[in-house]
Amino acid sequence: MNPKGYFALVLHAHLPFVRHPEYDRFLEEDWFFEALTETYLPLLEVFEGLERDGIHFRVTMSLTPPLLSMMTDPLLQQRYERYLNERLLALEGERKRTEGDAYFHPVVEFYTHFFERLRHQFVDRYQRDVTQAFRRLMEAGYLEIITCGATHGYLPLLAQQEESLYAQLSMAVRTHQRILGRRPTGIWLPECGYIPGVDRLLAEFGIDFFFLDSHGVLNADPRPKYGVHRPVRTPGGPAAFARDYESSKQVWSAEEGYPGDSVYREFYRDAGFDVHAPHIDAMLHAGLRTFTGLKYHRITGKGDWKEPYHPGWARERAAEHAGDFLFNRQRQVEWLASFLDRPPIIVAPYDAELFGHWWFEGPQWIDFLFRKMACDQEDIRAITPREYLDWHGDLQTSQPPECSWGAGGFHEVWLNGSNDWIYPYLHSAAERLSGLVQRFPDADGDRAWALDQAARELLLAQSSDWAFIMKTATSVDYAVRRTKTHLHRFNRLADMAEYGHYDHDYLRAVSDRDSLFPDIDYQIFQRRPMA
């Protein structure tokens, strides 16, 4: 029997490129290690379990080029293994400290098993390279892995120079193919940032579909007959899928969302701040208190008093919440099927790091959701956008407006008083680089080296994460310094290429630090005719 409708879970996995070989330990590299620990490895474990049990499931996942680059980087792989070992060592101390404590000792035991399992998964099974595990699931047809901007550049605010958009897309497709062995057919536009014209560029790179926030399709011109429940075909060719508001708010929302339930793990309480003991201090950076990932409490309530975490209860609740989510999707599809003449698709996109890192039980919720969806009902079936287009691809053509999924729905998050100062520099650097490409179309030797590295520096400076961090006021100094550093490095490299005076020590040092995209070609910044 045909289902009444389809469900597409879309997970956007991304972190900016943070890799500092010039330091032995580096605080901000923990962003990546925490995401591996709580999100990427647990998700892989869930997917492999579903595959093993023969459960029908489909997940669309963007693995951004900086993330793929970090996942395949030997230095970071080695440092993540150290991160795991440090946690396991600290946990030995924690087991002694909490011995006989009926409340916290079981939590410490839970973490010990958790980290032992991660270590086995990462080191023994994946040989430290998680991209190969994702690749295998992709080749088996369970995962649709899509790409993103090369460094998650926010396209609407880089569009002053179309060559920046071209460079972001070109390097993304190339990196995806290099690491995952396939050209991507879909893309997660960074922050769903869209302006008319991007559709045409995507088509040039063979991209068939992308995602927008609800208003991106609802406000498309002409009016979309099916609202957010079916994609539209953009004038440039690719299909635009819209976020479903109802399913979204159940997971994201503070008022109606699941992650705030009182038995789930509390994100903000961490042994790094709660426990003062030498074995905990050994995990800190230069003695500074920071998150360690050992979080022993449940959300409990609004007050400061937090009860110990109980993994079994949290798991029960994740199963209940998955059942609730599925029930609501069934009702939604029933309602839609009552008046639509084609099967609807419910697109539910989230930051991948919501599952696990922010909502610790999120991966279990995904596990329960697909099991229930496959075994308990026939109204709704998991699908990828690619499959939906293959089966139900007669789409209405409509042009989405300029938009994003950021607060307010437009560009305010990445362009406001806290971060507007970066744009004159980003635009002027792109203009300069495309000028150099025009002047030296066939550079080789040192000049090509300097120009290639200048292109890397500019792409890194364009990362939307820096503007985002400046706005939300977490780790602002790091974001400001990274932006300035890449701009300075860009400038010095562009000077070298322009005037022909090369400093080889500098070239080697800077290539060693900002080392992603080994196959970059500065010509990706070639000037493009105006649209």
Partner: protein, 281 residues
Amino acid sequence: MQSKTVQELRALAQSMGIEGYSRMRKDELLSALKKAERSAQRKEAAKSKAAPSKGKQAEPVTSKGAGARKKPAEEEEIPPAEHIERRDEHFASEEEQVEDAKFMTAPPGMQAPATAFTGDLGEDLDALPPVHGPKLTLLAQKPGVLHAYWSLEPGRTTRQSGLLLRLSYVTEQTAAIIEEVPLPSDSGHWYFHVDPAMPGTEVYLQLGHYAEDGEFITAIRHGAVRLPRLGASSSTDRNWWVNDEDFRRMYLRSGGLLRGDKLTWPGGVSSPGGAITSRFL
């Protein structure tokens, strides 16, 4: 913030209602702005009934055991499902809060460890490389707000008085001036607040001055920028026809109007710092 000029900081301070800003040095301005921002946040948090509690820390657990309690965990019953307000007033959306959590190294309210990063290849973090040549750019920020930045050779505004930014709109029949702003410095930023429902969909920006005969002389111009559109299209596709009532029903159910609700603009006040409520530190 560090990278802003004293003039820009003063303008911000003025918009925040800080007293005595015109006599302050850069570091004084920075700390006054930080203070004003914090007190604005506190007021906002106090206004909200469900003030977040995550920031504060309970007593550190240093010894074995964590205080006397009645029963070990196994004997307790699973607490009933309860939704806890996780939203921090600091964030404009849930998405923002989740994304922010990716970059967090300490809980809110605790001193986050300072970054160890300094560009170690001779980068001067107190300065930025120069932006070459005269530049004028106009970017749409959201419906009703446009952001301009410009950069002239140093000393230009002191040598030539009367320089203006002029924002205009064009329709098929007419072109009209929306606003003219005296150029405050050789380089800087300006946020124009325009009526989102104004006629015409394209605006353009000129930098220039009035000649003695009253004619406007343009030094640099920035081509047409389309204003972001808010709201549903009015045109319907003949092949994919949908009646008004059905479309409206689907639109409302899909949360289509919520985006509009979140948009605010302080009635036509242009300023160098953008919306006064924006977080800038």
